[in-house]
């Protein structure tokens, strides 16, 4: 119990929360890094995925490439980008490196899910929309994307959880986020600091997962919700593509 009481002391000490290396600042930095990467990946991934799913052209190659890219260890990509002279020169080099790596990590699950979501839409629905005089752009925006939304959101959720988790590694290339506690703790063999950092990261990742699950539920067209689309079903879909990081 002594160890856990030390952890409790870490969290109940006010000075650990404030300042440039406080819990709040580090947590915000991790959230900022993750948000930048995920937002950029959503724009790129949903656009590319839905266009591919809509047209079907070249989709085999792109989707396969996206899946293969997932075998690249993010840790290797992160360090490789970090040591390039062009990056080292930059003042915010660590943040840019991490944001780029997280972006690269987040695109594949979002792209493949958006692709699958748009591709698997009942052809009859497409025909009906076209028969109503919709242009291909309207079809994509007003019919295909809303119908694909549950899968698109599952992809975004997968990506976001992976990004928040991997953002921990950013501390290794000089970003001051929650990973800082973990790496400093490992370096100095400070069990309490390491453990507390790990708890914070796990809590943040879980929170992101739950918030996005709720958002997915809220954004899903009412007609698609029904009893068959439950929160648990959403969890199962997200986990099906999630990989530990």
């Amino acid at each position: 119990m002594n160890f856990l009481s030390q952890v409790a002391t870490f969290f109940s000490t006010g000075s650990n929360w404030t300042g440039s290396n406080g819990i709040v600042a580090l947590c915000l930095e991790q959230a900022k890094l993750s948000a930048v990467a995920v937002l950029a990946a959503v724009i790129a991934g949903v656009t590319a995925g839905s266009v591919l799913g809509h047209s079907g052209k070249g989709s085999f190659a792109v989707v396969n490439a996206a899946n293969a890219a997932r075998a690249i260890p993010s840790f290797a990509l992160l360090t490789l980008v970090a040591i390039q002279p062009a990056i080292v020169r930059l003042q915010e080099g660590g943040f840019i490196t991490a944001a780029f790596t997280m972006f690269a990590l987040a695109v594949p699950p979002i792209l493949t899910n958006a692709y699958a979501g748009v591709r698997d839409i009942d052809p009859a629905v497409r025909s009906a929309a076209l028969a109503m005089g919709m242009t291909p752009g309207q079809l994509l925006r007003r019919v295909e994307l809303p119908l694909a939304l549950p899968l698109v959101m599952a992809g975004i959720r997968t990506a976001a959880v992976e990004v928040v988790a991997t953002a921990t590694l950013a501390a290794y290339v000089g970003v001051s986020d929650l990973g800082t506690y973990i790496f400093t703790g490992l370096d100095t063999r400070n069990n309490v600091e390491t453990f507390s950092g790990a708890l914070l990261v796990a809590a943040l990742a879980l929170m992101v997962d739950l918030v996005l699950a709720a958002a997915a539920r809220g954004l899903t067209p009412v007609g698609l919700r029904g009893p068959s689309w439950s929160w648990r079903h959403g969890t199962a879909m997200a986990l099906a593509t999630l990989r530990p990081r």
Binding site: A71, P73, A76, I83, V88, R89, V164, I182, F195
Partner: protein, 225 residues
């Protein structure tokens, strides 16, 4: 010209040939860490999966717990385990790696067993199989495609995660990545990255081969699907 140290060419072949012994031993360590994690993960997941399939009440808590593990980042999980199992020990690395194999393996075992057709069950009962005989001779073999599919995902994932265990002194090829970063030197990182991706690909291909070897009826019936 800016006065910034160059990280060198992406691949400096002379470094690779001079370090080939080290690279090889790290590759072997990487394979060992992966094999132990997946092997132990499978040994835990099969009985857990069978139990969860037989006792549906166990299913939700089990899948929930293993799902929770999935959300915890690997560095964080290892850091949380470190005070318990040693800061730079193989045990810490393996406990973390095994944890991550559980969700996919348990889930696929349950899914595989649940997909066994009722006809097969009735035929086994009609032939006088005991429950245990039925499990080993009918149900588990029929669940094998799903279990093997899970094994493939778990293996490829573990190969990637082993790199991260370099932070706690293990890591196989991950050590090359840390070395390259520490020395501002591209080659070790690229070697670690490429070998890690190749290893994942080879392991996956070997498991596909195993699938074909132990599921000959699938090959014949499904026409290569």
């Amino acid at each position: 010209m800016a006065l910034v140290a160059s990280a060198g060419p992406l691949l400096q072949w002379s470094w690779i040939s001079s370090q080939s012994g080290t690279i090889l031993s790290l590759l072997v360590q990487h394979i060992e860490l992966t094999a132990i994690a997946v092997g132990v993960g499978l040994a835990i997941s099969l009985p857990l999966g069978i139990a969860a399939w037989r006792l549906p009440a166990l299913r939700t808590p089990l899948v929930g717990f293993t799902g929770l593990l999935y959300v915890i980042p690997s560095v964080a999980l290892m850091a949380m385990l470190a005070p318990l199992t040693g800061f730079f020990s193989v045990t810490t690395a393996e406990v973390a790696l095994v944890s991550y194999t559980l969700l996919i393996l348990v889930r696929n075992t349950v899914a595989g067993l649940a997909s066994v057709p009722e006809d097969a069950h009735e035929a086994a009962r009609g032939m006088g199989y005991t429950q245990l005989e039925e499990l080993f001779r009918v149900q588990l073999p029929l669940a094998l495609p799903s279990v093997l599919a899970g094994l493939r995902v778990a293996t490829v994932t573990t190969v990637g995660l082993v790199n991260v265990t370099a932070f706690i002194g293990q890591g196989g090829l991950g050590q090359l990545i840390i070395q390259g970063f520490g020395e501002d030197f591209n080659t070790p990182i690229v070697v670690g990255l490429v070998l890690s991706v190749l290893l994942a690909g080879v392991a996956d291909a070997l498991l596909v081969g195993l699938e074909h070897a132990v599921l000959p009826w699938r090959r014949a019936g499904a026409g290569g699907a």
